[in-house]
Symmetry: C2
Subunit: 121 residues, 2 copies
């Protein structure tokens, strides 16, 4: 595959449920994470669910960061999708691991891009 983007798919488990239910805190920390990744924030959109949970996306010049939280399970599902070579999504992963007080993480590191076989053209 001709790599155009890196996509970290992250599950944070055993997190602090208060933080996972605080939209303003999550938004603030995701913007800090974007900076640590070396990405440029273009826009963001977050939503507070009732009775609990937060969803959000940060649009980057280099793709996006998204989050969905289940405070009742201490669980956050995150995606760090970055294109180009200057970003390091693991910097954001490590920062948010600390912020969320995560006790266990699962990470999948996917390559996004073009197939080696271009015969579909």
């Amino acid at each position: 595959m001709q790599k155009l983007g890196s996509h970290l798919i992250v599950e944070y488990y055993g997190c602090n449920p208060k933080i996972l239910n605080d939209l303003h805190s999550i938004k603030n920390h995701l913007l800090i994470a974007a900076d640590k990744i070396g990405a440029t924030v273009i826009d963001e959109k977050f939503h507070q669910f009732s009775p609990q949970g937060v969803s959000g996306a940060v649009i980057l010049a280099e793709s996006h960061i998204s989050i969905h939280t289940w405070p009742e399970y201490g669980y956050a599902a995150m995606d760090f999708f970055t294109c180009g070579v200057k970003c390091d999504p693991y910097q954001g992963f490590t920062y948010l691991k600390q912020v969320f007080e995560s006790k266990l993480e699962e990470v999948k590191d996917l390559v996004r891009g073009l197939p080696d076989d271009h015969s579909y053209h």
Copy 2:
């Protein structure tokens, strides 16, 4: 894993580059795709890049849909993340395959949720 969400990771190849560079068309089609999936749209955010390319995210009551396009390669990287049991993300996948005039697709179908081992608590 205790499933909380379905995450389709989709690469569309050989697409119509004009469509992939048309923000308003992409936004409109992603909102239709959300409806076909059976999801409820909460908000959306799209961005047009210069000289080309569109990024966007649709925040759903059931998680999100995101897109990043490279018109110069006829390539769109998409994510359909839905939680709950009432949504069928493949309906959105199939709809957008037709809309983008994709000639080749690659799909990864991931489960998002809690680990079987809860000893981290």
